[in-house]
């Protein structure tokens, strides 16, 4: 009898569970699941929103392979990510390690480092446009006054526009620093004390304690970094519009243009599916490689 009572209670609990999560369930169907299926369908169609979609099979995907701007946007985005993601990871880890040295005024430093991430978006893009201004901006002026180097045209130069975006990205790494700092503060100090007694030098302690203990956090930041760097949009839209001569045509900007400037919704859907597959592929590679370099406490995690 008591077991029947339990199942009745359990059934009621289940009913309430579904009731509570129903906003998400409905939202998932309307704004995620449904759109994913629809987007896949559109990617095989010619579709301009006004007229109904026309099935064209693989044509969008074939067109994409032959589209030089597709390859250009892929190249721009990949180049940016290859430099910017590892660079941001290393710099923010280094700064977090500095901050973790029992520093007085930690909150002040942390506040300063995190501040740029708070004013993201258009305001930051405009600020950096002005900083990178080749004639009147502060960047080239400092280069000249401090190093006597004549700075390049930055966002107006095909060659220097990506480095400019990378420098700008570096300014906003505060979020990563805070995550690393939290990770560093979670490493038991006994580990360092024991190593010090054994005569391990700081370098050795970094490689043998800090890095392995931090690997789950690095893993997290790496995945987040890949996902966000492949989705850069606002900076490119506001600062360069993809120029000069497509040198900063980031992938999402190209997707946006196809969808909302040319209303090639089908082609844009195909492009966004390729983006999804790239991000998924990269994430899977990082995940699959993680047993080789990510160290979890109590290693037999998957037992």
């Amino acid at each position: 009898m008591s077991s029947r009572r339990l199942t009745r209670l359990a059934r009621q609990e289940e009913k309430y569970m579904y009731l509570f999560i129903s906003p998400w369930l409905i939202g998932f169907i309307l704004f995620v699941g449904g759109p994913i299926v629809a987007s896949l369908f559109f990617s095989f169609c010619n579709y301009d929103v006004v007229r109904p979609p026309i099935w064209t099979g693989l044509r969008n995907y074939l067109q994409l392979v032959a589209d030089p701007l597709f390859w250009q946007s892929l190249k721009v985005t990949a180049l940016y990510s290859i430099v910017s993601v590892p660079l941001n990871l290393m710099v923010s880890l280094a700064i977090a390690i500095l901050l973790n040295q029992n520093v007085q005024g930690l909150t002040v430093f942390r506040t300063i480092f995190y501040m740029p991430s708070v004013i993201s978006g258009v305001a930051v893009s405009l600020l950096w446009m002005w900083i990178f201004n080749p004639e009147f901006g502060i960047f080239n002026s400092l280069l000249w006054q401090v190093f006597h180097i004549q700075g390049p045209g930055w966002i107006m130069s095909e060659k220097w526009v990506l480095p400019a975006f990378i420098i700008m990205g570096l300014w906003g790494i505060g979020g990563g620093i805070v995550i690393y700092l939290a990770g560093l503060q979670g490493i038991p100090t006994e580990l360092y004390e024991a190593a010090e007694i054994d005569g391990a030098n700081p370098w050795y302690r970094f490689w043998r304690i800090t890095l392995p203990m931090m690997s789950p956090v690095i893993f997290f930041n790496l995945i987040m970094g890949i996902i966000s760097s492949f989705q850069i949009f606002t900076q490119a839209y506001v600062m360069t519009g993809g120029g000069p001569h497509y040198a900063s045509l980031f992938y999402v900007l190209y997707v946006y243009r196809n969808a909302f400037s040319y209303f090639n919704m089908g082609y844009a859907s195909a492009l966004s599916w390729i983006l999804f597959l790239i991000i998924l592929g990269l994430t899977l590679i990082v995940f699959k490689s993680s047993p080789l370099w990510v160290h979890y406490e109590g290693t037999s995690r998957g037992r």
Partner: protein, 288 residues
């Protein structure tokens, strides 16, 4: 031997001192590098028109032109855009806070078949780039005739956000289950437990969600860019992006004024609610 030991200690102390000098000077140098752009922004904002285009650039304005702010803000219907942005931001904030906390409670505290699978689905939706769902979502709102209204920007928030559901669930999981059990024995309903026990207990987490939601929607650019067209419905981000070139040649001092004003609410929020910012990052960062 005693002398050698003391010498060893002294050299160790010297190393410590050098290390401290190195750490502090690096941190101060990095802080300066980070603050330069902000200082440059403020300096430009307060300059006279002619002084903006001086070479080499001057750090301290000859005359401090507070008037620039007035000029920048009256050139566009800034008040209107401020109101639009605030309306959208606070409505989405409310929606996300309400539904994400309800949904998170369901996932954290109530058992039922398929729950873990569905939660895995919540997490995996965070991986899907918004570009994939962007086009069909636009088509839906276009069919509903919602384009060029605030509805496409606000209504989806009332269905919860995967990231906040995840964040709040992590917080709920830290609250002992015994509290729920005791309330249940006292005859409290599930909704009562949620509203009378969980909500008050998770105020810090809700603050974190509110702050991040505010910041994201305030700074959001792509969604309003897609859905809003008519001049009087624009948000600050869009208006700001159109500001360049509108004044004839780019008036960088006015542009920096406008950017500062747009960034100000987020900056103020950050300074007053730092604790929750850090908390939010730490919780989501580590349980990732």
């Amino acid at each position: 031997m005693e002398v050698r030991k003391m010498g060893h200690l002294a050299s160790k102390r010297r190393i410590r001192l050098f290390a401290a000098i190195f750490v502090y000077s690096s941190l101060i140098a990095i802080s300066i590098v980070i603050l330069i752009p902000v200082a440059w922004m403020l300096s430009t904002a307060l300059k006279e028109d002619s002084e903006v285009f001086l070479f080499p650039p001057q750090w301290i304005p000859r005359v401090v032109c507070w008037d620039n702010f007035k000029r920048a803000l009256t050139f566009l219907p800034f008040g209107r855009y401020f109101f639009n942005t605030a309306t959208i931001t606070f409505s989405t904030l409310l929606g996300e806070l309400l539904s994400s906390s309800v949904v998170a409670y369901g996932f954290a505290r109530l058992r039922g078949r398929g729950r873990d699978l569905l939660f895995a689905l919540v997490l995996s939706t965070m991986m899907v780039p918004s570009q994939v769902t962007m086009i069909p979502t636009f088509v839906i709102f276009k069919l509903l005739n919602w384009v060029d209204t605030f509805k496409p920007l606000i209504i989806p928030a009332f269905f919860g956000s995967a990231f906040f559901i995840f964040l709040l669930r992590q917080f709920y999981m830290t609250i002992p289950v015994e509290i729920d059990d005791a309330a249940k024995i006292d005859g409290c309903t599930y909704f009562g437990i949620y509203s009378r026990i969980m909500l008050p207990l998770t105020k810090p987490a809700l603050a974190t969600v509110a702050i991040f939601s505010f910041m994201w929607h305030w700074n959001d650019f792509m969604t309003p860019l897609i859905y809003l067209n008519s001049n009087e419905k624009l948000t600050l981000s869009i208006a700001l992006s159109r500001f360049t070139g509108m004044y004839g040649m780019t008036a960088w001092n006015l542009l920096m004024c406008a950017s500062l004003v747009v960034a100000l609410p987020c900056l103020l929020l950050f300074f007053f609610a730092q604790k929750y910012f850090i908390q939010g990052i730490v919780v989501t960062g580590l349980k990732g």
